[in-house]
C-alpha cells in the first residue's frame, strides 16, 4: 500500500526530455545541495527516487512522490531522509522541507506507525465526526508511537459519514465504538473493519433496501 506506486504495479517510465523552463539544475553555492556520498542514502530509496524523477519531463516534479517515499521509509519526513532525497534530486533540503510542510499528509514531525485521520468537516460533523475523533483518541491514548490520530478536513467520503481514513484506506459510516475495534484490529494485525471498507460498498442507489422514495 505504497502512496508512491501501486502494489506491484509497473508504471512505464517517461522519457526525460528537459523542460523548457525548469530543466536546469539550479546553480548553487557550495554545500547547499548535499552530495550523494555525504548523506548515506539507502540504495533502494535512491533508485526509487530516480525512477520517480524519470517519469516527469522535469525531475523536480518528483518532489512530492519522493517525499512520500521518504515518509514510507522512515515513517515521517525526517531531516536525514529529506537530505537524502535532496541529494538524489539535486535540490536543497530546505526546498523539500518547504514542500513537505505545505501538505497535510507529509509529516515533518514524528508520527505513529498507523495514521488515522478522522473527518470533522461539515457532513461528518453533522453525523458525529467529532465524537468519532474523540473515540479514536481515547482508544489510542498513550500509544503515540503506534497510532497517530488526527482530525482532518473533508476526505471526500461524505457518503459514508462519519468516516475515517486508516493507513490510507477509507472506512465508514462508523460508530464511535468501532474506534476501539479498529485500534485492536490494527494491533493484532487483522483486517480492519471489513464491513466498513469503502471499496466494498455498492453505489448508494444499489445498496440493499433499494430505492426509497
Amino acid at each position: 500500500m505504497s502512496p508512491v506506486d501501486g502494489p506491484g504495479i509497473f508504471n512505464p517510465n517517461l522519457p526525460v526530455d528537459r523542460a523548457v523552463t525548469e530543466g536546469r539544475v539550479p546553480p548553487r553555492a557550495e554545500e547547499q545541495i548535499p552530495e550523494l556520498h555525504e548523506v548515506g542514502c539507502p540504495e533502494e530509496l535512491r533508485e526509487r527516487i530516480e525512477t520517480l524523477m524519470s517519469r516527469y519531463p522535469d525531475r523536480k516534479s518528483a518532489s512530492i512522490p519522493a517525499l512520500w517515499a521518504v515518509q514510507e521509509r522512515y515513517g515521517w519526513c525526517t531531516p536525514e531522509g529529506i537530505r537524502q532525497a535532496a541529494a538524489v534530486m539535486r535540490v536543497t533540503p530546505a526546498y523539500l522541507e518547504s514542500v513537505a510542510s505545505f501538505y497535510d499528509l507529509l509529516h515533518t514531525d514524528p508520527v505513529g506507525t498507523h495514521r488515522i485521520e478522522v473527518c470533522t468537516n461539515i457532513s461528518c460533523w453533522m453525523r458525529g465526526g467529532d465524537e468519532l475523533l474523540d473515540a479514536f483518541k481515547t482508544a489510542a491514548e498513550g500509544q503515540d508511537a503506534e497510532f497517530f490520530v488526527t482530525g482532518f478536513e473533508c476526505l471526500g467520503a461524505c457518503d459514508i459519514a462519519p468516516m475515517a481514513s486508516i493507513d490510507q484506506r477509507y472506512y465508514g459510516p462508523l460508530e464511535a465504538a468501532e474506534a476501539q475495534t479498529a485500534i485492536d484490529q490494527l494491533k493484532a494485525g487483522e483486517e480492519v473493519l471489513p464491513a466498513k471498507d469503502l471499496l466494498k460498498r455498492p453505489l448508494a442507489a444499489d445498496l440493499p433496501g433499494g430505492s426509497n422514495g
Binding site: R24, V25, P26, P27, R28, A29, E30, Q32, E35, L36, H37, E38, P79, I82, R90, V91, T92, P93, A94, Y95, E97, S98, S101, F102, Y103
Partner: protein, 820 residues
C-alpha cells in the same frame, strides 16, 4: 528604450501618462507621479507575484480590481487609483495585514523607515476592529548569526524567500507550513548562511528581518546616509553608509544598475566594523610599532628611500585609489628614478597584451551580461572573486535565457547553470584557451562542447579571471577574434581581477612596462616576481608597499619573507597591522573606502568616486596628501594638495580619462570608453599568434615528498589554489563576520579520496618542497581526479606557502593522530 519597445499612452486618475508597452501599470503610474502602494512587488526579485494585493486598482472595462504590479499597460488603458472601490480594497488589505501584526513599532528597528507604517498611514482604515488574539512566534530568533527574524512582524510578502529563490538562488530560505501558519525559515532550523543573505534585511518591508549589527543602534532621525563605493572586491558595488556620530553603523545597497543591480554581498554589508578595529593602523609608526609624528615619519621614509638610491627602489600597489596609484608611480619614476612598479600579485602580461585587451570594443560592460546570448566564465569563480557578478550571471540565465559555459580549474558555484563545463589542470588555462579557439574554428577537441554553445550565440560575454595568466591573456585576443567580439555590439570581455581597483592601478601607470594611460616607457622596470628576486639578490634595496600584503596574498610566502628581510628599507601603507606591515621601517596608515576620497576604475572601465563618509580614526591622513608630501620630501613637487588637484593630475596624465570631470562621475560613475577621450587609448599592435600547447603549458614543478616526520605513504596530486570570498582580514577583524573565516580544507575527488584512504573530515598534511600546511579533507563530486584544492589568504595554513610561481605537485599524508 530599445527600438522594439513601443510607447503607449494611458490615463491614470485623469492624467495622461506616456509608458512603454508591456511595463507594469504600477511603474507606469509612478512616472506620472501616481503612487500606488505595494508590499510584495519588487521587480528586482523577478516576475511579480501579486500576493499582497495592496496595489489593486480599477481598470475601465474590467469588472474586478486588478493588481497594478502585475498588469502590463496597454495603449489607451484608463485606470483609477482613488475611487471608492479602490480605497475600500486598499484599506481592507491594510486592515488584513495588521490582523496578525504585533504593532510593536516603539521597539522596532524599522520604525520611522517602515513601508508598513507609511502605507498604513496613507491608505489604511485609520482604526482597528481586531480584538482577537494574534499569532505568536518565538521572537526574535537567529535566522543566521547576522540576521534576526521576528516572525510576528512578518507580513508574508515573501520577498526574502524570493530573493533566496530567484536572486541568490541558494534556495535556503523558504516558506514553511501553509496558510496563516506560514513562516519564513530554513531547513531543520539551521542558520541561513549564504554570501548574499544580508540583502533580505534591505528588502523586508517591515521589521521582520533586521541585522544584528544594527539592532537598537540608532533611530532614523539620528543618522545620515552617505554614498560611497565598496572597494573590498572588484565588483565595486555602490553603497550607502548609515553614519551616526561620524561612525558607520550600517551599510546599505545604493542601487546602480550598471554595477551592482542593487545588491551587496555580506562582506561589503557587514565588513564595516573593521573600520574601527583594534588592528587598524591609525597613525605613522616606525619598525617595532613606535608611533611617530607625521613629519618625522615622512622625513624618515624619504631619507630611507633616497639612500636606497636611484633605480634601486620598487613599489607594489594593491588597495589604492587611482590618484594614489598615480602618485606612487610618479614618486617611483620621477623622484626615485626607478621603473620597478607593479600592481599584480604574480606575473602578468606585457603592455602589448594589456593595451590590446583595453580596446573599448573588446570590453564588456557589466550590464551587457544581462542581455548576453551566451556567457563564458573562464578561470574565475565570480562568487569568490567578484560576488555580485555571480548574481548577475544567474539573472541573465534565469530571466533572459542566457546560456552559460564554464571553464575553470576548480568547480565553481555557477556550474549547475552551465550547459557545458571544462576543467583544465592548474596552470593550463592557456592550453585550454588555445583549444577553445581551435574548436570555435571547427576542430574537434576537448573544448568542442563549449564551442558549440558559443557558436550558436551572437552576443557572447567572457568573464575571465586575471589568474589565467599571461599566455592565456594573450590567447584571449584570439578568442575574441574567433567570437567576433569587437564587431558585435553587446559582446565583450570582462576581467575579474585580483585587486579591487586593478584596472585603475594599471591605467594610472602601476605597471613595469607602461606609464599612466598605458603609455610606453623607455626602459621597462621589473614586475612583481622580479622585484622579489631583486630584493633577495640585493639588486633592489628599497620597497614601497601600498595596500598589499605579500606575506598573505602572494604566492610563495617563504620567498617573500626572505625578500622582505633582505630589503634594506621598506615603506608600507597599510590599513591593518599585518605581518607584512611589521616588516616596514616606516608604516603609514591607509584609509578605507568609508574615509577615502578619490576615484577607482571598474574592470569595465567605469570610473566611480569613493567618498569620505565617516570620520578617520586616530591620526589618519588622506593617502594622496601623504604621497604628495613624501614626493616633496624627495624633491618632487607634485602640485597635488587637494582631492580635485589629484584628480586633475590623474586625468591630465591618462589621456583617455582626459575628458572626464567630477560631475560626469557623479553618483553613478562613468565609463571612460563612453567619453570623448576614449579615442586616445593607445592603439593595439594586434593579436598575438597561436602557441603550441607545449609552449603554453607551464611546467609543473615541485618535490611532492613532504619533509615531515611522518611522511610515509604520501601520494602526490596537482595543487590548485583559490581565494575564498571569506579569506582575509575583513572576515577576521570584523567581530560579526569572524564565524565565516575559512579553515583550510583539502578538496579532493572521490577517486583520490579512496586511493589515499581518506574520508571526509580526516586531518591531513599537504607538503611541497619542505613547506607544508594542515587541512581537513572534503570530498567533492566535481573535483577532477588527480587534482586537489586549497585556499589561499587564510590565517592558518595559507596555501600560498606551497606555491612557487608555477603549478606544483603536493604530497598528502594522513595525520595519524587527529588533533582533538
Amino acid at each position: 528604450m530599445s527600438p522594439e519597445q513601443r510607447s503607449v499612452t494611458i490615463t491614470v486618475d485623469g492624467r495622461e501618462i506616456e509608458a512603454v508597452e508591456g511595463e507594469m501599470l504600477h511603474d507606469a503610474a509612478r512616472k506620472g507621479d501616481v503612487e500606488i502602494p505595494v508590499f510584495c512587488y519588487e521587480p528586482k526579485l523577478g516576475d511579480p507575484v501579486g500576493a499582497c494585493r495592496m496595489c489593486l486598482v480599477e481598470i475601465e472595462g474590467i469588472p474586478k480590481l486588478q493588481t497594478s504590479c502585475s498588469t502590463p499597460v496597454r495603449d489607451g488603458m484608463v485606470v483609477h487609483t482613488r475611487t471608492e472601490q479602490v480605497k475600500h480594497a486598499q484599506s481592507a488589505v491594510v486592515e488584513f495585514l495588521l490582523v496578525n501584526h504585533p504593532l510593536d513599532c516603539p521597539v522596532c528597528d524599522k520604525g520611522g523607515e517602515c513601508p508598513l507604517q507609511d502605507i498604513t498611514q496613507g491608505w489604511g482604515p485609520g482604526q482597528s476592529r481586531v480584538i482577537d488574539e494574534k499569532r505568536h512566534f518565538q521572537k526574535p530568533i537567529e535566522l543566521s548569526p547576522l540576521v534576526a527574524i521576528d516572525r510576528e512582524r512578518c507580513i508574508l510578502c515573501y520577498r526574502c524567500v524570493r530573493f533566496s529563490q530567484e536572486v541568490s538562488e541558494d534556495a535556503q530560505l523558504q516558506l514553511l507550513e501553509r496558510g496563516d501558519r506560514t513562516f519564513v525559515g530554513t531547513f531543520d532550523d539551521r542558520p541561513y548562511v549564504g554570501p548574499f543573505h544580508g540583502n533580505i534585511t534591505d528588502i523586508c518591508p517591515v521589521g521582520a528581518l533586521t541585522s544584528y549589527t544594527y539592532r537598537f543602534r540608532a533611530r532614523p532621525w539620528d543618522i545620515e546616509q552617505a554614498g560611497s563605493v565598496c572597494t573590498l572586491c572588484p565588483s565595486q558595488c555602490n553603497v550607502s553608509f548609515t553614519v551616526r556620530d561620524e561612525k558607520v553603523k550600517r551599510v546599505l545597497a545604493r542601487d546602480n544598475h550598471d554595477v551592482d543591480d542593487g545588491w551587496l554581498c555580506d562582506k561589503g554589508r557587514y565588513g564595516f566594523e573593521m573600520f574601527s578595529a583594534e588592528e587598524r593602523v591609525t597613525e605613522p609608526r616606525f619598525k617595532g610599532g613606535t608611533k611617530v609624528e607625521w613629519e618625522k615619519a615622512i622625513a624618515r621614509a624619504a631619507e630611507g628611500l633616497r639612500k636606497a638610491g636611484a633605480g634601486k627602489v620598487a613599489a607594489l600597489v594593491g588597495d589604492a585609489s587611482n590618484e594614489e596609484a598615480f602618485l606612487v608611480q610618479k614618486l617611483l619614476r620621477e623622484a626615485l628614478g626607478s621603473a620597478h612598479v607593479d600592481s599584480r600579485r604574480a606575473g602578468g602580461p606585457g603592455r602589448d597584451t594589456i593595451v590590446a585587451l583595453s580596446q573599448p570594443n573588446l570590453t564588456a560592460k557589466v550590464r551587457e551580461i544581462d542581455d548576453a546570448d551566451a556567457i563564458l566564465v573562464l578561470g574565475t569563480d565570480p562568487l569568490h572573486s567578484s560576488p555580485i557578478l555571480d548574481l548577475r550571471v544567474r539573472k541573465a540565465i534565469r530571466r533572459n535565457g542566457a546560456r552559460l559555459v564554464v571553464a575553470t580549474e576548480r568547480p565553481t558555484a555557477l556550474d549547475g547553470g552551465a550547459e557545458a563545463i571544462a576543467r583544465y589542470a592548474p596552470g593550463d588555462a592557456a592550453v585550454f584557451v588555445d583549444e577553445l579557439v581551435k574548436a570555435l574554428r571547427g576542430e574537434e577537441n576537448v573544448a568542442t562542447p563549449l564551442a558549440e554553445t558559443l557558436k550558436e550565440a551572437e552576443k557572447v560575454v567572457v568573464l575571465w579571471g586575471e589568474r589565467i595568466g599571461d599566455f592565456a591573456q594573450s590567447g584571449l585576443l584570439n578568442l575574441a577574434g574567433a567570437l567576433k567580439i569587437a564587431e558585435t555590439g553587446g559582446a565583450g570581455l570582462l576581467e575579474v581581477p585580483d585587486f579591487s581597483n586593478a584596472r585603475g592601478l594599471r591605467e594610472a601607470g602601476c605597471l613595469p612596462d607602461a606609464g599612466p594611460g598605458l603609455s610606453e616607457v623607455a626602459v621597462p622596470g621589473k614586475g612583481t616576481e622580479e622585484i622579489r628576486a631583486g630584493l633577495e639578490s640585493g639588486e633592489i634595496e628599497g620597497l614601497v608597499l601600498v595596500g598589499v600584503d605579500p606575506l598573505r596574498d602572494f604566492p610563495d610566502t617563504a620567498a617573500w619573507d626572505n625578500a622582505l628581510n633582505a630589503a634594506k628599507f621598506v615603506v608600507a601603507f597599510s590599513t591593518f597591522a599585518t605581518a607584512t606591515a611589521a616588516k616596514a621601517d616606516v608604516l603609514f596608515p591607509l584609509e578605507t573606502h568609508a574615509e577615502k576620497d578619490g576615484t577607482v576604475t571598474h574592470a569595465d572601465g567605469r570610473l566611480q568616486r569613493v567618498r569620505p563618509s565617516a570620520g578617520r580614526p586616530g591620526d589618519i591622513r588622506p593617502g594622496y596628501l601623504v604621497l604628495s608630501e613624501l614626493a616633496e620630501a624627495l624633491g618632487l613637487e607634485t602640485g597635488i594638495w587637494s582631492r580635485p588637484s589629484a584628480f586633475e593630475a590623474l586625468t591630465a596624465a591618462v589621456p583617455f580619462y582626459g575628458s572626464i570631470s567630477d560631475s560626469d562621475i557623479g553618483g553613478k560613475g562613468i565609463r571612460w570608453q563612453e567619453t570623448a577621450g576614449a579615442e586616445r587609448v593607445p592603439a593595439s599592435a594586434g593579436a598575438s599568434g597561436e602557441g603550441s600547447p607545449d609552449a603554453l603549458r607551464a611546467g609543473v614543478s615541485g618535490d611532492p615528498s613532504p619533509k615531515s616526520p611522518n611522511g610515509t605513504g604520501a601520494t602526490s596530486l596537482l595543487l590548485g589554489t583559490y581565494r575564498d570570498l571569506w579569506a582575509g582580514p575583513i572576515t577576521e577583524l570584523n567581530p560579526p563576520l569572524k564565524f565565516l573565516a575559512p579553515q583550510q580544507r583539502l578538496e579532493i575527488s572521490e577517486a583520490d579520496a579512496e586511493g589515499l584512504g581518506l574520508v571526509a573530515g580526516d586531518k591531513v598534511r599537504i607538503g611541497q618542497n619542505g613547506s607544508s600546511v594542515e587541512a581537513s579533507v572534503v570530498v567533492k563530486e566535481r573535483v577532477p581526479a588527480g587534482i586537489c584544492f586549497l585556499a589561499e589568504g587564510i590565517a592558518e595554513g595559507n596555501a600560498n606557502s606551497l606555491l612557487n610561481g608555477g603549478p606544483v605537485r603536493v604530497g598528502i599524508t594522513k595525520l595519524s593522530e587527529v588533533p582533538a
